[in-house]
Symmetry: C2
Subunit: 146 residues, 2 copies
Amino acid sequence: MSNNQFKRGELYSFITGKASTAIARRLQKNFKQNNVDITIEQWSVLYHLWKEDGLSQQQLCDATFRDKPSITRLVDNLEKLKLVNRVASKEDRRINMIYLTKEAQELQEQTMGIANKTLNEALEGVTHGQVEIAKEVLQNVYDNLK
Amino acid sequence: MSNNQFKRGELYSFITGKASTAIARRLQKNFKQNNVDITIEQWSVLYHLWKEDGLSQQQLCDATFRDKPSITRLVDNLEKLKLVNRVASKEDRRINMIYLTKEAQELQEQTMGIANKTLNEALEGVTHGQVEIAKEVLQNVYDNLK
DNA sequence: GACATATAGTTGTTTATGCAACTATCCAAA
DNA sequence: TTTGGATAGTTGCATAAACAACTATATGTC
């Protein structure tokens, strides 16, 4: 589809991603109200470790779409919070394997519940079919650019 | 619509907004390649001033969905770059009116072209109808949360 | 085995965000 | 006219992102 010409206002709001900013802020607020003291960026790292514990920092880069310095510092902060541990790989000493602590494991259920609730607040009045199409478009955009 | 239950992977990518991150990065890269040395955040402020010059900082907060400290500092940096000037309002001395310099006015055409090109790269293979629905969903999410 | 190259991770610098606390100005009600 | 609350903007602090430059380890090739 070659001709998606945009009018000014549409273009701008599409690029700046106000909707995802708004969801992120609301999620952070809902974490705070439930006394969950982590940032959404930290949560996004834990999210992947809950799916598969013991990922390398490079795997976390790929999974979270962040560069290496970002992951280094997020893992630094998660370590300070006693939520993860760096463990040097025995096969390849360049690699740090990141493991969840017990405390982090216990955060999963609560925070996933908050995230689900937040998303339902955000999608009030949007039909399932619309959401499916929106996700397809966003995935397509991501694939085009990555 | 009360029941938009999300599966894990879907939920995550919807919240983290990888697509808008990807667009933002590509736009920044395209600016750089064309020797436009501003950040996309700075560009997003200029964008609203091109539509209407002489907005107050508070109006820029509302327009760009940022808080007051963020706008204070973006305007600080735009002033350093000689792209805007702060002018104290004569009617209300609390208010700073922000005006574009000639140099900033000249950036409009070029950067809007780059932004349009970037968005077309991003939307390759997406139909106009799909884009319309995606925009509706994102607007709806924004309205639900703001 | 030695060397070039690739990969994993870290550090420094600049820019930006979110929140709280602050100053200055305006305005309305007593 | 004073006083109390609202509004506009700034500053300080912590977290995070992008980019470049760096160290350490691994690997493939001669």
